[in-house]
């Protein structure tokens, strides 16, 4: 048996029970082994269940099925030796930096003198010396996350779990913190034996991790596993680095083009229930224009596009997917290619653009077509949104259904295909002979 194995996740499944239809599966058949001495990244789109898995591993959430073994024994709750860093920092506003850092030690019943020494050491290590008596609200975001790190490291955890620790920070601050953390890690000064982090930044994952688990959504599962054997510190401009980033984009978009039907959700006969991301139509238009113009001229490499537009995977992929769905552009092998309809859209003025968009919406989004047809049939040209929400929820989680509805509302409004009355939660239509 491998002495270095810290944590094992076997056939883990997380599902929420729904009374009307089948269970909603958030995670399905996830297997994972963590060894001492490695940094592992969980990479995926929002809603792919990676944060859920992190919470299961931290003992904050019991899995519906499957097993988590921590240091050889089944995990039953928050365990000694696992410390967590939060995306939102999760600092107690009424405790000073020192008191926040000491809290975990206090809970273990460690005497005051030792507590203070260890907290002091952790605070110094993470570069917060001199701020011991400050309250979190006096600190900038970057400093706050340093407190979060110190609080986790002070207990000398075997496993440090981090939930998108840098995504609430600005680009520069995040980069500094990442570098500091990796430096401590490579110098062996980080008092943790292994790190598990959730991220949606491809470059962040490649920059920091020894192993990356790429998640697929609906239901969330590990779709691919990559090893990154580049030595630290890593250079973003290294061609090998770029190739790995390209590969991951390829993996993510390949899956996006052909979504695998999940075993868990019942078959959808109406074709209505394609989950949609509420992507802003302005952004879509902006991306199409960028794509059509120099230097891309109709075809762009996704990593290049992402860094040019300062977009993360989480922003760029839904955009690309929406454009693919509407057949305005096409995602393939890590590239985005402009299609005929997309070219026409870019060349048109405001009003014709709306017509083209409406046409794309009618031809490719069944939900939009159905809403419009129902409205046409109704004597008062109003229909409760609840009706479609219920239909969607038979096939997807309430969150996804809500996102899908919001997407179709935004697109329908832009295309002037139908309107939506937020107060009454109804779709509506105005008759053509009004006002004209």
């Amino acid at each position: 048996m491998d002495q270095d194995i810290l944590l094992e996740v076997r056939a883990c499944r997380q599902a929420y029970h729904k009374d009307s239809s089948a269970d909603l599966v958030v995670l399905d058949d996830v297997n994972l082994t963590l060894r001492a001495g490695e940094i592992v990244g969980l990479l995926g789109r929002s809603g792919s269940g990676k944060s859920t898995l992190l919470r299961i591993i931290a003992g904050l959430l019991p899995p519906t099925a499957g097993e988590v073994r921590w240091r050889g024994a089944p995990l039953t709750g928050p365990a000694e030796g696992i410390a967590m860093v939060f995306q939102s920092f999760a600092l107690f506003p009424w405790l000073t930096v020192q008191e926040n850092v000491e809290l975990g030690l206090e809970a273990q019943g460690i005497p005051r003198a030792e507590r203070e020494d260890r907290a002091e050491a952790a605070i110094d290590l993470i570069g917060l010396g001199g701020f011991e008596s400050a309250y979190p609200k006096e600190l900038s975001g970057g400093m706050r996350q340093r407190v979060g790190l110190a609080r986790a490291l002070v207990v000398h955890p075997d496993l440090l779990v981090m939930d998108e620790p840098f995504s609430a920070l600005d680009v520069l601050t995040a980069e500094t913190l990442r570098t500091d953390l990796i430096d401590l890690w490579s110098e062996g000064r980080l008092p943790a034996r292994a790190v598990l982090m959730v991220t949606h930044g491809i470059e962040e994952a490649v920059l920091m991790c020894d192993r990356i688990l790429v998640f697929a959504s609906n239901p969330g599962r590990v779709a691919h596993e990559l090893r990154v054997s580049l030595p630290h510190p890593r250079n973003r401009h290294d061609p090998a680095f770029g190739r790995i980033v390209d590969d991951i984009y390829g993996l993510l978009t390949r899956r996006a083009v052909s979504p695998t039907p999940s075993r868990a959700t019942p078959a959808d006969e109406t074709g209505l229930a394609t989950p949609l991301h509420p992507v802003n139509t302005n952004l879509m238009a902006g991306l199409l224009e960028t794509l059509a113009a120099a230097p891309y001229r109709g075809r762009a490499d996704l990593p290049a596009l992402a860094s040019a537009l300062q977009l993360e995977v989480d922003d760029l992929l839904p955009l690309g997917e929406a454009l693919s769905l509407l057949r305005l552009a096409e995602l393939a092998e890590g590239d985005l290619r402009l299609l005929e309809a997309g070219r026409a859209f870019v060349d048109a003025d405001t009003e014709p653009r709306k017509l083209l968009f409406a046409e794309a919406l009618r031809s490719h989004v069944k939900l939009a077509t159905t809403i419009r047809r129902t409205l046409d049939e109704r004597w008062n040209h109003r229909v409760p949104a609840l009706r479609f929400r219920d239909q969607l929820e038979d096939h997807m989680s309430p969150d996804y259904a809500e996102a899908t509805l919001r997407a179709v509302i935004g697109w329908g409004r832009y295309a002037e295909l139908f309107g939506y009355d937020e107060e009454a939660d109804q779709f509506l239509l105005e008759e053509p002979d009004e006002e004209e």
């Binding site: 967590m84 506003p93 809970a107 273990q108």
Partner: protein, 577 residues
């Protein structure tokens, strides 16, 4: 090309046939109008009309009594709103007025209204001699004084925290002061104001019961209303009538909660100025849904809205108050203002001193001070006891969202329920077991106000951020450490708010709680409340003034020396964000 209706109100209405809801709604509206007219008729009768101030325990009269009481409460609410708009605006807009008005409001908040009933009755009876209307106004005024202050405070707080960018926008677009008031200030204050209206309405019931049946010296009047009905039932030991009155009151509370406040709270949510959206969308209350989905009602509310909007858009020639920073304050004006304030304060002091010098002996003052200490001990003990019970209970409830949703309306109802109705069982209990009224009457003081503690603690515990809860579990903090480091500080600001309200209410309630009666069994505890109550009964004005002044001093001093520093500390340390 199709055009899309932006909002429901621009959709064509002429083609739509009225639906069944329209008829139902129309009948309701007409019925309510008729009822109000019927109730109003009794208000303007001369005092010597038979039945004008007489009351029977006939159950069939109860709906009419409930109507009269409800009308009084809404009249008081209207007055409170008008007061709030005027007072808060003046206090927030004028530096000098604010310097005087805000401490004044603080004092007014601490004045035990029940002690002042005798004065206000004499005053309003003098205004309308021989008319029911005078008594009516006195009752409305008593309810008003229980409703207005916290609403004014809430509005003032909103006005002083207006987002700077929106203020600049209204100035850049040259909105007049009147337009700005209706376009920015009132909408911004709306969520807090509506919430305080709900609280005020609950608080008002206590005073309805106390202010409808009025005894002054040897004269007793009973205005038709639930309060008088209860008073008579207590006097005649008619337990069945007490229960009937409770039932009627419950129905009234339920009705205005469902018909008015729930829709209002939901509607005011749209003015909430937040960047993060609420956790879970709550479905519209059924009345709001009815208003929004019934064509005729929607049309009616929309036209009402248009009239209000038009009024708000008027460029009324109000004096344009200069922005605070625009020019240095005038020294002369400050001096004049300061001098007149000092003059008024001096005059008041002189009047009070000469009044007391003529009527009150130093021994009276010493007695009142001692009695005040008794009541203070009682209030402190009861608040501590209530906290010991309700803080853990509130945290427990607040951490269970399903239970919280069930508990909140129930507690709101309990808070609205006038605790004076529950006195009789206590009296019977104390007499039966021969217990000391000095100790056993004390719980009555917090019977009605303890709910504020529970309510606030539940709200704070349920708002505890999810990420902090996870961090707490990850660090495996529990037991005493959890209370000391995590949940204690998290609920502290809300707890203090609740405890201030509860203790202020307890002082006020002392006036009725330290003397409780069931028929001719009368119990009295030694305390300031009993002192004021006895003085009122005897029509002894100097001693009423003395007792009330002492109570104001006690409440203000405790607020300043104890609660205020605690609240400031809690606000500095234990707020999120």
């Amino acid at each position: 090309m199709l055009r899309i209706a932006r909002t429901a109100t621009t959709a064509p209405a002429r083609r739509r046939l009225p639906n069944p809801w329209d008829f139902a709604a129309l009948l309701c509206v007409l019925g309510a109008l008729a009822a109000v007219a019927h109730g109003a008729a009794g208000t303007f009768a001369p005092l010597d009309t038979p039945d004008a101030t007489g009351i029977t325990l006939d159950a069939w009269e109860l709906p009419y009594y409930a109507l009269r009481t409800t009308m009084r409460m809404f009249a008081a609410m209207g007055a409170s709103l008008a007061f709030t708009f005027a007072f808060a605006t003046l206090a927030a807009k004028s530096r000098r007025a604010g310097a005087v008005l805000i401490p004044l409001l603080d004092i007014l908040q601490s004045v035990p209204i029940l002690g002042f009933l005798s004065f206000t009755i004499a005053f309003f009876m003098g205004l309308f001699p021989g008319q029911v209307f005078g008594l009516e106004l006195a009752a409305i005024f008593a309810i008003f004084t229980s409703q207005a202050w916290n609403m004014a405070f809430s509005m003032y707080q909103s006005l002083t925290t207006l987002p700077a960018d929106l203020v600049e926008a209204t100035r850049a677009y040259r909105l007049s002061a009147w337009q700005r008031f209706w376009r920015l200030e009132v909408p911004f204050a709306m969520p807090g104001l509506v919430w305080n209206m709900v609280l005020s309405m609950s608080g008002g019931w206590f005073f309805v019961v106390a202010s409808e049946a009025i005894t002054l010296g040897d004269a007793t009047w009973r205005l038709p209303g639930i309060g008088s009905y209860v008073a008579l039932a207590l006097e005649q030991r008619d337990i069945e009538a007490v229960f009937l009155a409770m039932l009627a009151m419950g129905l009234v509370i339920l009705a205005y909660d469902q018909l008015l406040f729930r829709p209002l709270v939901a509607w005011s949510g749209k003015f909430r100025f937040e960047t993060t959206s609420a956790a879970a969308p709550v479905p519209d209350p059924w009345v709001l849904a009815l208003l929004r989905r019934t064509h005729l009602l929607r049309l009616a509310t929309a036209s009402f809205g248009r009239v209000v909007a038009a009024l708000g858009a008027l460029r009324l020639p109000l004096p344009r108050l200069p922005p605070a920073m625009a020019r240095p304050p005038r020294r002369i004006g400050d001096l004049l203002f300061g001098a007149s304030v000092i003059a008024i304060v001096g005059l008041a002091l002189w009047r009070l001193a000469s009044y007391f010098a003529a009527t009150i002996a130093p021994s009276d003052v010493a007695e009142v001070a001692l009695l005040g200490c008794f009541t203070l001990v009682r209030v402190a003990a009861m608040i501590a006891l209530a906290s010991l019970v309700w803080v853990p209970a509130g945290v427990w409830l607040g951490r269970r969202p399903a239970l919280t949703r069930l508990a909140q309306p129930a507690i709101q109802f309990l808070a609205a329920f006038p605790a004076n109705l529950l006195f009789p069982p206590f009296v019977v209990f104390i007499v039966h077991f021969g217990l000391s009224p000095d100790i056993w009457l004390s719980p009555l003081m917090v019977l009605g106000t303890q709910w504020y503690i529970l309510f606030n603690v539940i709200a704070a515990a349920s708002a505890f951020p999810g990420d902090l809860a996870e961090a707490t579990r990850n660090l495996r903090v529990d037991g005493l450490l959890w209370w000391r480091r995590v949940m204690g500080p998290a609920i502290l600001p809300a707890y203090i708010t609740g405890a201030i309200t509860a203790s202020g209410g307890a002082w006020n309630a002392a006036i009725v709680a330290e003397v409780a009666a069931w028929g001719d069994t009368r119990l009295a505890a030694r305390g300031l409340g009993a002192y004021i109550a006895h003085a009122t009964e005897a029509g002894d004005f100097p001693r009423i003034v003395l007792g009330v002044s002492a109570m104001v001093v006690f409440v203000v001093v405790i607020n300043r020396l104890f609660w205020r520093p605690l609240a400031v500390f809690a606000a500095r340390r234990a707020t999120f964000g």
